[in-house]
């Protein structure tokens, strides 16, 4: 145990003004399984991407077996035996399983012809060694996701990797498959492979890992042996003392589970085949309901149905007691539902237009006077919104793309508030927003709530959920497993439920 | 063969070919060919069985080619035994070649062809000849000898335009040519005719610009505007076809230069003649294109009779169309029925 197989020194990565990773040191020894944990946006994925060469760091260096490597070049890392199983599929869907396993490295014979026989033999040997069965000729796109994950694992194993990075490898696996994967990991560990295991599931970390690195806000917060850690301590480290402080502060903000008691949105047994099933909940006027869960738990898909972008196969939705079935977002908007999408650049804002134009865009019809736009009224409305939302700088003529992320988000929220929807849905409202702006957005939402708005927030940021929610709903794999009053539930409980351990 | 050398030959052939054309038209209208229907006179049995096929492969849709087609159709309509159709070359040589192949396979009796390129269509013409098909080219000749070639007299026409234009300018000044894109024989013939004509009749006139406007009125407007800006002393334009000349007229109108600029076109289409009557366009070379089509069709009916095998054409006939230079003074003599 002298030289780490892979080592990152002082790694940092910024995206414009956003710091995704700052001064992170990270090392894994041969035969070590290191858990990497932290809430969303903590910088885990960025760290992994730097280690695989997918992204070049803005500072710091990486060593493999003590040798400094060229950064930002995936083929260099592959050559040095660093493989990764990504959270999102990195397979070519139209190609066969066999081709995907050997992506970019097919064994070749004369004239550069691919040696299919050897390829097949190698793949079969690999499958036999790791107890995986796959139809090598099937197109990957036609396989169920579990099988696709297995292809990814085989692809990494086929590299004869010395370092194996696994980003949420069990996200789609059943309990039995997880056990099998863990067996494989132990086998690799015995062979001296260094493994980095990223997971939200603390159970898995405690089962399979030797050591752990805990990250928060782009920094490495703690490193420890698993045997020396307890779960509550891990959670505390993950969310930080700030949350403890914030929760205390938030606890003083009166929670209003159930709001005024008036049901604005009622969802019963909502099902979209093969996506989510039997989702039921009520949203009241004057409350904030947060829906949380892992990526892939189908929260966003549920919102798409509520907003008319997709259709449900069964179940009912009622707004103000009237059953509705929106065929399009346009109908949903007319029916009183507002939706602030997650990707504000793609779906929500006209970046090149001014703040004023963005703020009143959805409500232009209200400012029409005999077919002409009443510019004075528009300016007045815009000025009022900018003041209410505390948008900086308070200049309605400024192009939205010149604003910071937080202020852009405020413009987007303001645009929807101007519509005065019966129900306002926000998908990950504070992704990529700095801490100060986060607090301001929370304050805006609370103020709207106090005025009687019904607000539904989708968030994977537990910190946010614990701070903002009046009630918390947890989604796991397409089901709404629990709804809690925010005051009556602990963070640990929610974490457990999200991981499906409840 | 250079332009100048061929001119003499053109001249010599001119009357002869005109006579051949007129005779054919006369014969056709006199009903000499009506017997073809019964297959009794000089028609091979195979063709008598059904209608004989003729087709015109044009270059691309244009007033000139549609007037030809109209003229051809007029004559062929009198022949109840001829199926005629117009095919479009889409301004692509390979499309024309493919259409030639198809017509050869179909067993057409006569193909009227306005070749996009003189060389590129030559192998197809040779192939048609081998299959016993008579090919008549319109306006643009091919390097492969074939049955007959019917054309306006581009070179001498352009020379006469140069003379008329120079007269209007008083023998001095600057002119610009709105030209066709390079690579086409008639472009060269007209350009050379115009240049030589100025040299001969008005050596004091200078050609200050020669730019392509792609045969198009719209493009010519842009080009003419630029040329006027670059050459403030410009006294006149020669448009290698009427569309481009009319483009220059459009510019002259917006700049209030009507009457000041001398603008000549070429071809003599209806719009150009009307523009001359209005005093906008100065003049154009007018050829009765309907008549050109009728000549071609009349010759075709003779060829289709089968009395002369297509393979016999070691030397092709040339039909040169008469023309006049139409100006405000002479335009009234062109009858409405002759306008196309």
């Amino acid at each position: 145990m002298d030289t780490p197989l892979i080592r990152g020194i002082g790694l940092g990565r910024t995206y414009g003004a956003l710091t995704a990773l700052a001064d992170a040191d990270f090392a894994v020894m041969p035969g070590e399984v290191r858990g990497l944990i932290g809430s969303n946006g903590a910088g885990k994925s960025t760290l992994i991407k730097i280690l695989t060469g997918a992204v070049a760091p803005t500072s710091g260096s990486v060593e493999v077996k003590g040798e400094t490597v060229r950064l930002g070049d995936p083929s260099e890392m592959i050559r040095r035996g660093v493989a990764c199983i990504y959270q999102h599929s990195n397979l070519a869907p139209a190609m066969s399983v066999m081709d995907n396993i050997f992506l970019g490295r097919q064994p070749t014979g004369r004239f550069g012809r691919i040696d299919r026989r050897r390829q097949r033999a190698d793949a079969q040997a690999l499958m036999a060694r790791h107890g995986i069965t796959l139809d090598l000729d099937a197109a990957v796109g036609t396989l169920p996701t579990v099988k696709q994950k297995e292809v990814e694992i085989l692809k990494a194993l086929a590299l004869d990797a010395r370092v194996l990075l696994m980003d949420e490898p069990t996200g789609w696996l059943s309990a039995a498959d997880v056990v099998r994967l863990h067996t494989t990991i132990r086998g690799l560990k015995a062979d001296g492979v260094a493994i980095v295991y990223i997971s939200h599931m603390l159970d898995e970390i405690f089962t399979v890992c030797d050591t752990m690195t805990i990250m928060r806000d782009g920094r490495v917060i703690a490193e420890a042996k698993v045997a020396e850690m307890t779960r509550p301590r891990v959670i505390e480290l993950m969310v930080g003392e700030k949350l403890a402080r914030d929760s205390a502060a938030a606890a003083r903000v009166p929670r209003r589970p159930g709001g005024t008691g008036e049901v604005r949105l009622q969802v019963r047994d909502l099902t979209r085949t093969n996506v989510f099933r039997d989702v039921s909940f009520d949203l009241h006027a004057g409350e904030i309901l947060c829906i949380t869960g892992l990526i892939g738990s189908k929260r966003t898909e549920l919102m798409h149905v509520l907003f008319g972008a997709d259709r449900a196969d069964s179940g009912t939705i009622e707004v103000d007691g009237r059953p509705v079935a929106f065929g399009s977002p346009r109908e949903a908007m007319a029916g009183g539902i507002g939706f602030v999408p997650e990707d504000r650049h793609r779906d929500g804002l006209m970046l090149g237009l001014s703040m004023t134009e963005n703020l009143v865009m959805a409500t232009l019809s209200r400012f029409c006077r005999a077919l002409l736009l009443d510019h004075r009224a528009i300016a007045a409305r815009s000025t009022r919104s900018i003041a209410e939302l505390a948008i900086q700088p308070p200049d309605g003529t400024k192009a939205v793309r010149l604003l910071s992320g937080g202020n852009q988000q405020k413009v987007l929220v303001g645009k929807w508030l101007n519509l005065g929807p019966r129900v306002l849905i926000l998908d990950e409202p504070t992704v990529g927003v700095d801490v100060g702006a986060k607090a301001e957005i929370y304050a805006i939402l609370r103020a709207e709530r106090d005025k009687g708005a019904a607000i539904l927030v989708v968030s994977s940021d537990l910190e946010e959920v614990m701070t903002l929610a009046d009630r918390i709903a947890v989604m796991v794999a397409g089901r709404l497993v629990a709804i809690h009053d925010a005051e009556a539930v602990t963070m640990a409980r929610v974490v457990d439920e999200i991981g499906g351990a409840a | 063969m250079s332009e100048i050398e061929s001119v003499g030959a053109h001249r010599r052939n001119f009357l002869k070919s005109l006579a051949l054309g007129s005779a054919a038209v006369g014969a056709a209208s006199a009903g000499l060919f009506t017997d073809v229907a019964t297959g009794t006179i000089g028609v091979p049995a195979a063709r008598a069985a059904g209608n004989i096929k003729m087709a015109f492969i044009q270059w691309q849709p244009h007033t000139v080619s549609s007037a030809w087609s109209k003229g051809i159709e007029e004559v062929l309509k009198t022949q109840q035994t001829v199926d005629y159709r117009l095919l479009d070359g889409q301004n692509k040589v390979e499309v024309q070649v493919s259409l030639m192949d198809t017509l050869i396979n179909e067993g057409a009796a006569v193909i009227f062809l306005q070749p996009i390129d003189s060389v590129a269509l030559a192998p197809s013409i040779a192939k048609a000849k081998r299959a016993g098909i008579a090919v008549l080219t319109l306006n643009i000749d091919a390097t492969e000898p074939h049955a007959a070639h019917v054309e306006m007299n581009h070179y001498f026409g352009a020379m006469d335009i140069a003379k008329a234009l120079g007269d209007k300018l008083g023998g001095k000044g600057e002119v610009a040519i709105l030209n066709a894109p390079p690579g086409i024989i008639i472009r060269d013939q007209r350009t050379n005719g115009f240049v030589d004509g100025l040299k001969k009749h008005h050596p004091g006139i200078k050609i200050v610009a020669d730019q392509s406007a792609d045969w198009s009125r719209k493009k010519a407007q842009d080009v003419a505007t630029t040329l006027l800006a670059a050459n403030p002393n410009l006294g006149g334009f020669y448009g290698v076809n009427d569309s481009m000349a009319l483009g220059a007229v459009d510019v002259a109108k917006t700049k209030g230069l009507i009457g000041k600029l001398v603008i000549f076109g070429n071809d003599g289409e209806k719009d150009a003649l009307e523009s001359i009557e209005k005093g906008e366009l100065t003049g154009t070379q007018y050829t009765d294109v309907y008549q050109q089509g009728r000549f071609a069709a009349a010759a075709a009916t003779v060829l289709a009779s089968g009395l002369v095998p297509a393979t016999a054409f070691k030397q092709q006939g040339k039909l040169l169309m008469p023309y006049t230079i139409a100006t405000k003074e002479t335009v009234a003599s062109i009858q409405p029925a002759q306008r196309w």
Partner: protein, 340 residues
């Protein structure tokens, strides 16, 4: 597998179309017509093969028509001005076309341009280059001089396969144009490369999932440049076949051919969403288009209707491609849902 069954379905449709015209269109079922089909559309098939590479990468190459003209003009100049022997001219013209294609790739990779924009720009640039190097402009008289080099004219020859085999006593079979065999050779070579070499697999990977390709250490930029170079290479081969057929090259050669090639490739099942398709499809697509065009001409259907119909078929192919794409997407989400 799905890609193969799609090709078989297309082949079945092609055979059905062939059968329809065989019985419905006069003179369709003749040896001469089949020759026309093979010689008139082999070069389109080659262009479609070339176009398949950019489309497999989710790109497009609009410049191939201009590259055809460029390679054609290079060959023209080398033969008629520099008097190079044909065996040197052929590789030189193909090299020029390949480099032009590679430049497209470099622009797309290095400047991160959209393929549509990059090749639209080079389409104009290459066409301009053709005009500026055109021997037809530089040397008077060349525009009417056919290319007689035996190496090049030899490309336009026909092989009497049936006669060699002694079948011609029994039945009239078409003579097969050499261009058809050139097309088959290009098809065989590139299909081998695409299906059986690592480069081919890499190409599919880059087209199917760029990020996965990058993370697998595939040199995405190099694959892209090679793909566009191959598209240029095919344009060069097609250009030589055309020059042989026309015995000349024109500046406007190849205009609009990118449309036929893209249509043939897409009809041939090369998915516009990338990463899916073989080279058999584009070849069948090219001959399907050819069959329809020739068949409809023989049926006497107007060419404007033909163009509408061609557009309709292309639209149907694109829509079908889209449907397949959506179906794949749906299956993907359904698979994801299985565990839920």
């Amino acid at each position: 597998m799905t890609a193969r069954s799609a090709t078989l379905a297309l082949l079945a449709f092609f055979v059905a179309t062939l059968a329809f015209f065989w019985f419905a269109a006069p003179r369709f079922a003749t040896a001469g017509n089949i020759e026309n089909l093979m010689s008139g559309f082999s070069f389109v098939a080659i262009l479609a093969i070339g176009q398949a590479f950019p489309i497999l990468l989710r790109g497009i190459d609009l410049s191939i028509g201009a590259i055809v003209a460029l390679a054609g003009m290079v060959a023209f100049d080398l033969v008629l001005i520099l008097h190079w022997p044909g065996w040197l001219v052929i590789p030189a013209a193909i090299l020029a076309a390949t480099l032009a294609g590679a430049l497209n790739g470099v622009l797309i990779v290095r400047l991160r341009l959209q393929p549509f924009i990059a090749t639209l720009a080079t389409l104009a640039a290459y066409r301009g280059l053709v005009y500026s190097i055109s021997g037809r402009q530089l040397v008077p008289g060349l525009s009417t001089t056919p290319i007689r080099d035996p190496w090049i004219t030899g490309l336009e020859s026909y092989l009497d396969i049936a006669g060699t085999l002694g079948l011609s006593d029994l039945i009239t079979l078409p003579w097969v144009p050499l261009s058809f065999f050139v097309m088959l050779a290009v098809l065989a070579g590139f299909q081998f490369m695409l299906g059986s070499t690592r480069f081919g697999r890499d190409l599919y990977t880059v087209g199917g999932n760029v990020e996965a390709a990058r993370l697998a250490g595939i040199a995405v930029g190099r694959v892209t440049i090679v793909a566009y170079a191959l598209s240029g290479f095919c344009a060069g081969v097609a250009a030589l076949l055309l020059v042989a057929r026309l015995t000349t090259a024109t500046e406007a050669l190849g205009t609009g051919m990118e449309m036929s090639a893209i249509a043939a490739a897409v009809i041939g099942g090369v998915s516009l969403s990338g990463g899916i398709g073989s080279l058999y499809g584009p070849v069948i697509g090219a001959f399907l288009l050819g069959t329809i065009l020739i068949g409809l001409t023989l049926l006497g259907i107007s060419q404007f209707v033909q163009q509408i119909l061609t557009g309709g078929i292309l639209l149907a192919a694109v829509a079908y491609d889209r449907v397949l794409f959506l179906r794949r997407q749906r299956r993907l989400t359904a698979n994801l849902g299985e565990e839920a």
